[in-house]
């Protein structure tokens, strides 16, 4: 009898196991507006890549939420004290989807491929790649580059298969994309969908995943849905199992859904208000400071975003070391100081509450891009500026038009915009005197800023030196009130618990392959 019971139990367990294995391990993910329309999966030449890219291509390194670096295709790395050489040890036994081996020769082929592309700057300081042995590669540098690890961890640093890349030419990433990642690209229709199938040979996941491979989900269809409402309804009805980016507007409704889990990871974006320092009345630093102190970051964070994300008080995301600045230069809401500064600048309150100087009203242009979220923030900023006596008139542009308008250099005064980037060199992009108009919308171009820019961008030998230099540059930009920080959104994604199971903690700066490796279909 006992034997029979044991047999029955064993049969039931075996059946349960086989049922689990037989589950159709298929899932549909969706990317929304920001990622829709990425033209290809070519990490070398691409300037826009969607989230599926990380599932096809591995990089040498990955960056965790705390900005620390972890080996992906590299097992270890070291830098010489003068910063002129970097040596990387590579993982053994790695193969591309087409069966070709990944080794030091791949890296020797890969780095020069960036020449003449938009991403060339990421490896610009590498002079030569030396193959030490089959699994060791050395970069001989033109100049020390403490930012090299960050660049190598970027999504544009996915390593393609040399043979397929050279054979396909411009078609690589469009008709086929071959990497070493946990998924192979089966099909890609630009603007519509990408079908990925599991790479069963994959066993080289990083230490950011519990499962080192192969992935548990067999087939993933990544759909591109431009309209946020449609994407949200697809998730609600089960048409989509995971939504990569959830607009904050939908959070309350998603949280109310029992079968949907909302997850947040630290943000990579800053919403801010650039101030054109070359146009009246903002040539006066007191007026710039007054406008910056009039912005109530906490009110926007609480009322518009329900306390999700964080109020921003500097130009960089809070996980970066360079964002830990002297509190004296941080910009936070201070209406009394704002009003006092305007008084000192000679702008007195007029009968209608708008300040006046020499018979001229303090009336300025406030530009923004189309999109509900931008408009809402801009309207809030408009009201806050009015509270201190600045009348701001809003004009809404589409993203391409607004950049063209900025390039006219003197047409704009204030604007509400955002960027998404996880490195302090974004300050160079938006405040360098070489890029006046756009992207340097603030038009800041003074010798001190340029000197600090040069120090930060080219003179650091080590990571710590770089952090110190960027911190000094960042603090100087803040002290010039060339912008007002507004809001730091969180990265929010959501998935159906009816269908998927994801790890409780998401590692990495974004939802990428390390988390998807641990994901499984449960129903």
């Amino acid at each position: 009898m006992q034997t029979l019971t044991r047999l029955a139990l064993l049969t039931v367990s075996a059946l349960a196991c086989s049922c689990s294995a037989l589950l159709a391990q298929e899932a549909t993910f969706a990317v929304t507006a920001r990622e829709v329309g990425a033209p290809s999966y070519n990490p070398i030449t691409g300037t826009r890549l969607n989230s599926a890219n990380s599932l096809i291509f591995d990089r040498l390194l990955l960056q965790d939420t705390d900005q620390s670096f972890h080996g992906a295709l590299a097992t270890s790395w070291e830098q010489t004290p003068d910063g002129m050489q970097w040596t990387f040890k590579l993982k053994p036994g790695v193969t591309f989807h087409d069966g070709e081996p990944f080794n030091a020769k791949t890296i020797e082929w890969w780095i020069p491929k960036f020449a003449g592309t938009e991403n060339a700057y990421m490896v610009a300081n590498i002079d030569k790649v030396e193959v030490v042995d089959d699994l060791t590669v050395r970069f001989l540098m033109k100049a020390p580059d403490p930012n090299l690890l960050f660049n190598l961890a970027s999504s544009f640093m996915g390593i393609p298969a040399p043979k397929a890349y050279d054979e396909l030419g411009d078609k690589f990433g469009v008709t086929a994309a071959v990497g070493t990642g946990p998924y192979k690209m089966q099909s890609f229709t630009v603007g519509q969908s990408t079908v990925l199938v599991r790479n069963d040979a994959y066993t080289w996941g990083s230490d950011l995943s519990v499962n080192r491979g192969p992935a548990k989900i067999k087939t993933i269809t990544v759909r591109e849905i431009a309209e946020d409402s449609t994407a949200f309804l697809e998730l609600q009805t089960g048409g989509v199992d995971l939504l990569y980016t959830v607009p904050t507007d939908f959070l309350p409704r998603l949280k109310a859904e029992k079968s949907i889990k909302v997850m947040m990871i630290p943000g990579t974006e800053i919403v801010y208000m650039p101030i054109n320092v070359t146009v009246e009345p903002f040539t006066d630093i007191k007026v710039r400071a007054a406008a910056a102190y009039a912005v109530n970051q906490k009110a926007i964070w609480q009322t518009l975003y329900g306390g999700v994300g964080a109020p921003a008080n500097s130009f960089l995301i809070s996980s970066l070391q360079e964002s830990r600045i002297d509190p004296k230069v941080a910009i936070a809401y201070d209406p009394d100081r704002s009003k006092k500064l305007l008084d000192e600048a000679g702008w007195t309150v007029g009968p209608d509450g708008v300040r006046v100087k020499n018979g001229q009203k303090l009336q300025v242009k406030l530009w923004t891009s189309n999109g509900t979220e931008f408009k809402r923030i801009t309207e809030a900023v408009q009201a806050q500026l009015k509270d201190v006596g600045i009348q701001a008139d809003i004009t809404v542009f589409d993203p391409s038009s607004i950049n063209a308008q900025y390039k006219k250099k003197t047409e704009h005064q204030l604007a509400v915009r955002s960027y998404s980037w996880t490195n302090a060199d974004i300050i160079d992009w938006f405040f360098s005197g070489k890029r006046l108009g756009y992207p340097n919308v603030s038009m800041l171009n003074d010798p001190k800023a340029e000197e600090l820019n040069d120090l930060a961008m080219t003179k650091a030998r080590t990571w710590d030196e770089r952090v110190a230099n960027f911190k000094a540059y960042h603090e100087y930009i803040l002290s010039q009130y060339a912008f007002a920080p507004i809001y730091e959104p969180a990265n929010i994604f959501a998935y159906s618990t009816r269908k998927l199971k994801l790890p409780e903690v998401v590692r990495g700066t974004r939802l990428t392959s390390q988390t998807i490796l641990d994901a499984e279909v449960t129903k």
């Binding site: 829709v36 329309g37 033209p39 290809s40 300037t47 826009r48 938009e118 991403n119 700057y121 990421m122 544009f156 411009d170 469009v174 229709t189 630009v190 603007g191 519509q192 759909r223 591109e224 849905i225 431009a226 309209e227 409402s229 449609t230 994407a231 309804l233 697809e234 609600q236 009805t237 048409g239 542009f397 589409d398 993203p399 391409s400 038009s401 950049n403 063209a404 308008q405 980037w421 060199d425 974004i426 160079d428 992009w429 070489k434 890029r435 756009y438």
Partner: protein, 308 residues
């Protein structure tokens, strides 16, 4: 009839040239350019200049237009700047989806619109006439973007009858077709009703009444047939709509098609795609008008005679 067709066809040549110039000018005079969307954070101003020159965007606009027009006459719409694929292939890949959506929507609009218009005339001034026409008027004023979302909420989310979006199955076409088609139903029903009422006041209809024909025979057998002339004109104009009339609906329903392609290209200022799509839409409207005119001429000898 053949002479009429040739004359109408020749008239399309100057129209095409003017349209191509307008399309090109509109695309290039709108602020912004594709290079902004190609630059990566860290790109130098020199790189910008290099890319601008690479795509010939630094040349005078007239020269750029000449080069483009020459290509168009050779059947080549160029390569997309951002998507880096031939525009013709992109259009051909998306066209079947737009034709399916637009064609079915037009068929739906025409059949339902004519039927409602005819019934409203038949039951003129009844509660049916008034209520149907009021509903139709309301339907015509609802933006189809909003109507699309409403359709999704009711038929996909609440009732679960159809998929929310996409183009992976035939039933995914139902809601977009209804959304696009309903706007056309309103117009066609109103035109049909107005034309039938106008025809019903003509002498020959009184004669038919006098001859003892039933109301149904008169309205369906004679009045409707005579009233179809303006409806055919409207349908001819709507053929252009078959190709590109569902721009926002493709976006809402996340469907492939010329509309989705155009919106994506507009956001990125991918000039060759925008020019190619607008040209296609223009040609579709021109050909639609031609088909409408030919159909009218076939139905009404007075039009043919007038062209002689």
């Amino acid at each position: 009839m053949f002479g009429y067709f040739i004359r109408r066809l020749l008239l399309l040549i100057p129209v095409f040239l003017v349209m191509s110039a307008v399309v090109f000018a509109i695309v290039h005079l709108v602020p912004g350019d594709p290079i902004d969307n190609m630059l990566q954070i860290g790109s130098s101003p020199e790189r910008r200049a290099e890319l601008t020159a690479k795509f010939g965007l630094d040349r005078p606009l007239v020269v750029q237009y000449g080069v483009w027009l020459d290509r168009v006459f050779h059947g080549d719409l160029g390569d997309a700047i951002i998507l880096k694929q031939p525009v013709v292939s992109l259009i051909l890949a998306n066209l079947p989806h737009s034709l399916a959506l637009g064609g079915l929507a037009l068929a739906f609009s025409a059949s339902v619109g004519i039927a409602i218009g005819a019934l409203a005339t038949f039951f003129r001034d009844s509660w049916f006439d008034r209520s149907v026409m009021t509903i139709i008027l309301m339907g015509a004023t609802v933006p189809n973007f909003w109507l699309g979302l409403l359709m999704i909420l009711v038929f996909a989310v609440e009732l679960g009858w159809f998929p929310v979006s996409g183009a992976r199955s035939a039933d995914a076409l139902v809601l977009p077709v209804l959304t696009v088609g309903l706007g056309g139903v309103a117009l066609i029903a109103r035109v049909t009703r107005a034309a039938m009422l106008e025809t019903a006041r003509q002498d020959f209809v009184f004669m038919l009444h006098a001859k003892g024909l039933s109301k149904r025979q008169i309205y369906l057998g004679h009045v409707l047939r005579h009233a179809l002339l303006p409806v055919v004109t409207i349908l001819g104009l709507k053929i252009g709509w078959v190709v590109g009339g569902a721009v926002t609906i493709e976006y809402v329903f996340a469907r492939p098609g010329l509309g989705s392609l155009l919106i994506s290209a507009l956001n990125q200022r991918d000039y060759p795609i925008i020019q190619g799509c607008l040209l296609m839409l223009g040609i579709a409207v021109m050909l639609g008008t031609l088909v409408g005119d030919l159909a009218q001429a076939a139905m009404d000898p007075r039009i043919r005679d007038g062209m002689r």
